[in-house]
């Protein structure tokens, strides 16, 4: 047991979009970055959730020039700033929403999320959670496919960046 080490007490991977529609898993699946202690559920003072919006679209040229054939939005929401015994900054909750997902004739979309191993990005006595995640998938049809690849890093102080 150590409050300076972190772990994810939730899920590490789940489906986000399945055959062009929001996957049922997003309604019940969460992840987090919390200290390795027995009473991590007693974290307090969480802020947020902050939101990161990722939108992807495909525009076609024929027979309707400029028509948007695929358009979906994935929102990553995470609570941050939760403290253990008045210190540290942890991520007690992370979840995914899909507020928009439209797919045209003969197109399909599959996307999933994989949460990486949480780490302490600060000192042992004042840990700050660092949590990488990857949202990956494919937009495809009978004749073409294109990958979806978004990597994010989240921190317990509320900051985030694109990339690992």
């Amino acid at each position: 047991m150590s409050h300076s080490e972190l772990f994810n007490a939730g899920a590490t991977t789940w489906q986000v979009i399945e055959r062009g529609a929001p996957a049922p898993a997003i309604w019940s699946t969460t992840a987090n970055a919390v200290p390795v202690v027995d009473d991590w559920q007693n974290l307090s003072g969480a802020h947020g959730p902050a939101a990161i919006t990722l939108r992807r679209w495909t525009r076609t040229w024929w027979p309707f020039p400029g028509d948007v054939t695929v358009d979906f939005t994935v929102v990553v929401r995470f609570e941050y700033g939760a403290q253990y015994h008045g210190g540290g900054l942890f991520i007690p909750n992370l979840y995914i929403e899909v507020p928009e997902c439209s797919v045209g004739w003969r197109y399909d979309v599959d996307v999933d999320v994989t949460v990486g191993t949480p780490e302490n990005a600060n000192t042992p006595d004042a840990p700050i959670a660092r949590l990488p995640l990857a949202i990956r998938g494919v937009v495809f049809n009978d004749f073409w496919s294109d990958s979806v690849d978004w990597s994010l890093t989240l921190w317990g102080d509320g900051s985030w960046m694109r990339g690992a």
Partner: protein, 71 residues
Amino acid sequence: MGDDPGMDGDRVPREFVEAGAPASLADWSDEQRDGYFRGEAGELIEGDAPIRLEVAPIGDWPTEDWPTRDW
């Protein structure tokens, strides 16, 4: 990957046909297939700019190792 165009999906939606597309996918030219099935991708990423919090050390809490006061 997707449905076989030779099965039920060979039929083209009415709005496509009204726009000039052949009614059977098998009759589409390579240029027409590229124009619809290849497409051009775009993306946008944006997020909240939350206040970056300051971190405090985790407080010392009584443990079994703490000496007890001798009253």
